[in-house]
């Protein structure tokens, strides 16, 4: 028996030795595939938008608010996307105002305060939260939050900027929590012990020692949350009310109760009905380019911030 086992193991090892170049090639391929996918997405979106790019009236696109892709007889189509950009930006900002404190708070609690079973069950529950499909979140916005907002604020319609932002915030929280928690856990215990030895309270440890030490990870977590908010589609389509109006007074908090429409919601609802290869179809891909630019800017900014923070830490 024993000899048989050894020989089998030897055989397996031999096979693995022989397969090493193959396995190495596979690992290389999976590494490069992500770059290939990103390049392919850029290529596809630009290819679909390309024919209309020279003809796009960018002034109209960015600074007017009439999105009429299929005009009435005798009129010209117009593609003013300003209200959608306002929609995407406002949902992102409001949802992050809700999600960042909530996410960081939960991460601090799980990593520094909770222990044993509580800690484990929280982690599992938050992973579960991340697994809820976006259409279900949209449904919660439409069916649960809608009447609550109607009652609390006494408004006729409860699907609006606030509703969509709450929904998106809850979708972003699990991501912020799990990455922030990793970042906090990565801070060596010696830091905590040193602070304790100096007589720091738990709160002082969190905000004077852990936050500065885990800056990079926490920022990355928030930036990923922002990316999630910009790209979210189905939930915002259902929960924001899709109004294509820009508020007159941004200082008025009542704009939280306005219906907004995001760039993503426009693409998902209009693409199926557009004439494929027509101007409208291509303009929807131009919106796709704008979204791509948004996410590239977010990623690059977060990279620069994180690098800057790193530099500071080295100098300190």
């Amino acid at each position: 028996m024993a000899t048989k086992k050894t020989s089998l193991r030897g055989l397996g090892a031999k096979f693995l030795d022989g397969a090493e170049p193959l396995i190495r090639a596979l690992i290389y391929a999976s590494g490069w595939s992500s770059i290939v996918f990103v390049a392919a997405i850029f290529f596809f979106i630009f290819r679909e938008a390309w024919p209309i790019l020279p003809r796009v009236n960018w002034g109209e696109f960015f600074f007017t608010n009439d999105w009429v892709p299929v005009p009435a007889e005798g009129n010209k189509a117009s593609y003013g996307a300003m209200s959608m950009m306002y929609g995407t930006i406002s949902v992102t900002i409001v949802s992050m105002v809700i999600a960042v404190p909530l996410g960081l708070g939960a991460a601090v609690y799980i990593s520094e305060f909770a222990t044993g079973k509580v800690k484990e069950s929280f982690k599992v529950l938050i992973e579960l939260l991340a697994a809820i499909p976006s259409i279900v979140w949209g449904f919660i916005g439409l069916v649960v939050l809608n009447p609550i907002i109607q009652d609390v604020f006494g408004v006729a319609v409860g699907v609006n900027l606030l509703n969509g932002s709450i929904v998106v915030a809850f979708m972003a929280v699990p991501m912020i929590v799990s990455i922030s928690e990793d970042a906090l856990r990565a801070v060596p215990d010696t830091y905590r012990e040193a602070a304790l030895a100096l007589g720091a309270s738990k709160w002082q440890i969190v905000y004077k020692v852990l936050f500065p030490a885990a800056k990079n990870g926490l920022l990355a977590a928030c930036m990923l949350g922002v990316g999630r908010a910009v790209g979210e589609t189905m939930a915002v389509l259902m929960a924001t009310g899709n109004g294509m109006v820009i508020p007159e007074n941004f200082a008025n908090p009542a704009i939280l109760l306005d219906k907004v429409r995001t760039l993503t919601a426009t693409i998902v609802s209009e693409l199926p009905d557009s004439v494929h290869g027509g101007d409208h179809y291509r303009m929807l891909f131009v919106i796709g380019i704008v979204l791509l630019v948004f996410s590239v800017v977010i990623n690059v900014t977060s990279d620069i911030i994180v690098k800057g923070v790193k530099g500071d830490q080295k100098n300190a």
Partner: protein, 276 residues
């Protein structure tokens, strides 16, 4: 939005046309599924797959040759006819009218306003229109919450053409919803709501207003009689497009749809059958 339904028959040797792929209008998805389901009893050897991803997507699939039948709530556009010819060796698409649809104007069930005229609807929905409060049409003092379909849907274009007339767009205050069901759901839950959608989506929990052609004219609710006789002012044909005249299993299926059994399904799905 894209529900899919497959009607699987007995497996037979696949001959050309024994599987029919269908895609197109969101409005016609329900009736498309019901046809496929009923046809299973008539000819179990034909496998029919129905999707409702939008009229434009259905026509694009026809251009690409991935489907046999495209269901549509709008007519073909000239550039689409050209694309179909270009990709099918000059064969032109054929338009089949398989039923009629009235576009219902929905409000909240408790709304006391029971009828509106086309000129009033134009003031409500059309750009520059003066009506934005229910008290201007005999209702309570309540700001209207106006919703519709997305800016490219067949229903949107048709309703605008009839209600707003030539050269007039919708107001920006008309919020595009994600689909017909969403419009009806919005009007069910919002007291100040007004919206439009295919009459197939009428249910007991939502209010319906009658529509008259002129101010003071007789108002009709969309039903088989008013749409069939042409007295309901916002009615349109339901289309099926094929590339060239259909043959084989597709022809049999289309003949069945236009025949008495298929038209019974049209009525059961709350659309209006072809005149007998």
């Amino acid at each position: 939005m894209a529900l899919s339904f497959t009607s699987c028959g007995k497996k037979t040797t696949p001959t050309s046309g024994s599987a029919i792929q269908i895609n197109g209008s969101d409005t016609m998805l329900q009736v498309g599924i019901a046809w496929a389901d009923a046809y299973k009893a008539v000819n179990p050897d034909v496998t029919i797959t129905v999707n409702g991803e939008g009229s434009g997507t259905g026509i694009a699939a026809l251009i690409n040759g991935t489907i046999e039948i495209s269901q549509s709530s709008r007519a073909l556009k000239p550039e689409e006819i050209e694309s179909i010819k270009a990709s099918h060796g000059g064969v032109a698409p054929v338009e089949h009218i398989v039923g009629y649809d009235g576009i219902a104007v929905f409000v909240h069930k408790d709304n006391p306003v029971k009828s509106l005229s086309i000129p009033q609807l134009k003031e409500i929905f059309g750009e520059g229109g003066s009506i934005d409060n229910w008290n201007q049409v005999g209702g309570p003092d309540l700001k209207m919450e106006i919703v519709g379909r997305n800016n490219a849907s067949g229903t949107y274009v048709f309703f605008r053409n009839i209600v707003c007339g030539k050269g007039v767009e919708f107001k920006n205050a008309v919020s595009p919803m994600s689909g017909s069901t969403a419009v009806v759901e919005f009007c069910t839950t919002t007291p100040a709501a007004i919206g439009y959608s295919g009459m197939g989506y009428v249910n007991a929990n939502v209010g319906l207003v009658g529509v008259s052609k002129e101010d003071g004219g007789t108002a009709y609710e969309p039903n088989a009689e008013s749409v069939g006789s042409g007295t309901f002012p916002i009615a349109r044909p339901l289309y099926i497009f094929t590339v060239g005249e259909p043959t084989g299993a597709t022809k049999d299926y289309l003949d069945w749809i236009k025949g008495p059994s298929g038209q019974k399904v049209v009525e059961a799905e709350k659309f209006v059958a072809l005149p007998k």
